[in-house]
């Protein structure tokens, strides 16, 4: 086993492990400050903040031979016998000097800078900087310019780490950003007519260690110290990126990627980043409503649930349409409820929105064409519980609807239903639509129930690669809205509150295809691949 020493501590590495000094230090809880290094990007070793002392330990004598000069930890591999010293006077001096250098021409406009509170320049200054400013350089004003439709550059806050430049070259592959001029006059720039507008552009804002790159959507909306990040999974497409939902009192302010090497690495796409606006849309349904004499009349949940239960138990042929926005637990409860109604019920996979083709970037990141998070999970649940593949929406409609009572679940950010869908459902005697917004099918419903958005759901999604990720709510739904999970939990006669974790444990016990999903689920999720299921044929 390779053994490495860091600040006198002995660390054993796995034989094939390749760590640099920063990663090694992080493993033992030592923070080596750095700006330019990022695990997902190439190493340039140019910010020089991570300078450390290094040496080699002779395996026979135990004698340590130190290098006379400092080296960047990001560029120094931890191999057998390497010795790192990260807390010597020399290292502290070098850090103070780099920090002082970076602040020479920095405007220090923290009070009006969006990054304040999560800025490395700020944090490292308190931790590693000098007590007093010695520089006699008059800081610039914070000149700003637009790099693209979503990103604004505050030129003088930049520390030239070039993370954004490397991201556009290596991960997005579009290379819009480059460094202009030389020396202290350097600036990040785009060519005229070629703005920063690739589908992953927003990541440069997360990558920026200082306040130079700002997301215009988030700019001046909220101080970061008021935000409470909640771990969630993006519902925008079948990739299912791990995300942080930065919220304050149940209002989303921004979405950031959450590192998950098994799904999205460190990135998310802009569609996901800005794909939360529907959550706070003023036109959302916020209370159940029943059609009485062609008029919508609001109703209470307890009254509605009784009516639902009565109608579906009495139905000759009930049908359940499962939205691919439901979590697996919600689908499980729903299918179990419909199975309890008798043999004859139809279990249908709701419309699966698709746009174009899967788009894979040079860095390996994929934006899926399938614009919903959980088709694979729904299919798994239906097969696990019923042993059958769910019918697809178009198959079901084409076959001619024989069901008399239909329950269409939802959570669609924008309705995938058209007038023709509504037409096909005209023979249904009692139609329940649970969703977020009005649409042609809902217009024909007898009962509409306010559902919740993906950011408000709890449970687990299974992405296009059969990777299951469990999560709790990102924000709580508006009062009056209930998730399908809560509704079917109650209809199923379960006591206490909807609790997805217990359900997942139950599913792992009983369902084929979920045996790997025994809680607790790791933050990065668990792969269900290998537990093969048949796929529904989804048409366009």
């Amino acid at each position: 086993m390779p053994v490495v020493w860091i600040d006198g501590r002995e660390v054993e590495l796995a034989p094939d492990e390749r760590l640099n000094g920063i990663e090694l230090a992080a493993r033992v809880g030592i923070d080596i400050p750095h700006y330019c290094w990022h695990p997902g990007l190439s190493v340039v070793a140019s910010c020089r903040m991570c300078l450390v002392e290094t040496g080699r330990r002779d395996p026979q004598t135990g004698e340590v031979q130190m290098l006379p000069k400092l080296v960047p930890a990001c560029q120094t591999p931890a191999s057998d016998g390497t010795v790192f010293v990260t807390d010597s006077d020399k290292v502290r001096q070098a850090r103070a000097m780099v920090e002082e250098d970076l602040l020479l021409r920095h405007p220090v406009d923290c009070p009006i800078c969006d990054k304040a509170g999560e800025c490395r320049l700020q944090d490292y200054y308190f931790e590693h900087g000098r007590e007093r400013r010695r520089a006699d350089i008059k800081p610039f004003h914070s000149r700003k310019r637009e790099l693209g439709p979503t990103v604004r550059l505050f030129v003088d806050r930049c520390v030239m780490c070039t993370r954004c430049v490397r991201f556009c070259r290596e991960i997005a592959g579009s290379s819009e950003l480059y460094v202009e001029h030389r020396g202290a006059h350097e600036e990040i720039e785009v060519f005229p007519g070629f703005p920063l507008e690739n589908p992953l552009a927003g990541n440069v804002v997360d990558l920026c260690p200082v306040g130079a790159l700002a997301d215009k959507d988030f700019l001046y909306q909220q101080r970061v110290w008021f935000l409470r990040p909640r771990a969630h999974v993006c519902g925008g497409c079948a990739t299912g990126c791990s995300i942080w939902i930065d919220q304050n009192q149940d209002r989303i302010y921004r979405i950031r990627p959450r590192e998950n090497r098994q799904v999205n690495d460190w990135w998310i796409c802009d569609a996901g980043r800005y794909g939360w606006k529907h959550v706070h849309d003023a036109t959302r349904w916020i209370e159940p409503a029943m059609r009485v004499d062609e008029e919508w009349k609001s109703a209470g949940w307890s009254e509605v649930l009784e009516e639902l239960d009565r109608r579906f138990r009495a139905a000759a042929r009930p049908a359940l349409v499962l939205s691919p926005f439901l979590t697996v637990e919600e689908a499980y409860l729903a299918v179990r409820y419909f199975e309890g109604l008798g043999e004859a019920s139809d279990i249908v996979l709701g419309p699966v929105p698709r746009e174009g083709e899967d788009q894979t970037f040079p860095g390996g990141f994929t934006i899926a064409a399938e614009k919903c998070p959980n088709r694979r999970g729904i299919e798994r649940v239906v097969q696990g519980v019923t042993g059958r593949v769910p019918l697809s929406w178009s198959e079901w409609l084409e076959a001619g609807i024989e069901a008399d009572c239909v329950w269409i679940t939802g959570g669609y950010p924008s309705a995938p239903f058209g007038e023709s869908d509504a037409e096909s459902l005209s023979q249904v005697s009692w139609l329940v639509v649970q969703d977020l917004f009005d649409h042609p099918v809902a217009a024909r419903a007898d009962l509409r129930l306010p559902s919740v958005a993906w950011a408000e759901r709890q449970g687990a999604y299974v992405n296009a690669n059969d990777h299951l990720q469990a999560f709790s709510w990102g924000v709580r739904p508006p009062v009056g809205c209930r998730s399908e999970g809560q509704v079917f939990w109650q209809l199923g006669g379960r006591k206490r509150l909807y609790h997805p974790n217990d359900l997942l444990a139950e599913m792992a016990e009983t369902l084929e295809g979920f045996s790997a999903a025994r809680p607790p689920i790791a933050e990065t999720g668990v792969s269900l691949a290998g537990q093969r299921i048949e796929e529904t044929e989804v048409v366009g």
């Binding site: 910010c47 020089r48 290098l67 560029q75 070098a94 250098d101 006699d136 030239m160 030389r182 202290a184």
Partner: protein, 450 residues
Amino acid sequence: MAAFEPVLLARIERPESHTLADYESTGGYQTLRRVLGSQSPEEVIDEVKRSGLRGRGGAGFPTGLKWTFLPKERKGPTYFCLNADESEPGTFNNRILMEEDPHQVLEGLILSCYATGTTTAFFYMRYEYPLAWKRIGRAIEECYEAGYLGKNILGSGYDLDVVPHRGAAAYICGEETGLIESLEGKRAWPRIKPPFPAVEGAFRQPTVVNNVETVACVRHICERGADWFRSMGVPPDPDNPRDAGSFGPKLYCLSGHVERPGCFEAPLGLTVRELIDGYGGGVWKGRRAKAAIPGGISMGLLTEDEFDCPLDFNGPGRYGCLGLGTAAVVVLDETVEMVDFLHNSCRFFAHESCGQCTPCREGTAWALRILERIRAGRGRLVDLDILLQIGDSIGIIPGTTICGLADGAAWPIKNAIRKFRDEFESYIRRTNPQGYEESEPVPALDWTTH
């Protein structure tokens, strides 16, 4: 000294020295013909190693050793980059070689390429040398016509193409990996090492980067042998295990306040005094010298007391300078204000810092600002300590930058202030009698552009 016959500069006085006909009339390309016909590349490398030839570009790395770093097994092509991006202030020896004797350089280049097994060489010339660009271009054409370049050179079966490439006027392109990046069409930001160019250089292939004067020396080593080369110069310093000795002739560029500036050839080990008095005709206008730059501005400063410093690879280092550099000696006479000298030096480096590593990008700019303020009569004594701290904190020697050019930016600051501190202090006291003792942060001057 009189016994020394110039070798590299032997032909430059001839009226048509830059033409192939004239070069051939003085035995040109005979060495190439002989080597290609009778010696293997390994034998050439051995000869160059035995000669003790060290790179003339500034760092003084042993040339033969550099060539042996190329991997033994190579799948793709190997490239040779001839570094003619001579941008060190005070240096013009490569220009004279390229303008007056381009075929000597090309013969050396072909021999070096043969030794290293390269079939493509890039002639990377700085933008500011239009005559050299023209003459090298013409000389390459002549070589192709005469069969010294191209396929099957002189019937030996060896192929070589030389591609001239003109830089865009940046100091950093003289750094070998900066040069390679620039050659690849990128921003000339030096690469982090390892991998070294010999393993992965231009276009991700093994690459050798050598200076123009170095390959010119290779040509003469091949002609006259390693023993002839070792008969000149200075043997290794027994007290310095890292000194590999300084052998062979060297082109010294002498400029500044001397009577007869110029490029002179002499065996390595000449002292500064011998160069100034013997070759340069002494300090101009009958004045005394105050200081001299030993090898291009980035190598630091020698005071007049230190003029016995021998100009070999080991000498200037013993006097607190960075090294021999390009052996470009610039003489400063007694009237030079050291504050002005340092300001000029810092202005150059602030302008030329490539801006990749924080300490050099910001440090050079800050040093310039401080010196501007001192010259504006608002200097403080504490500024000298800040300048020294900036100087001590940039470069590959403290380990804070990627390339060695940052050390060159730091050295003039360190040498000037450490060796002439009294002068700096009296300047500050004289020009800022009210505030020289101030240690509080002072307001900046208005931003000026450079």
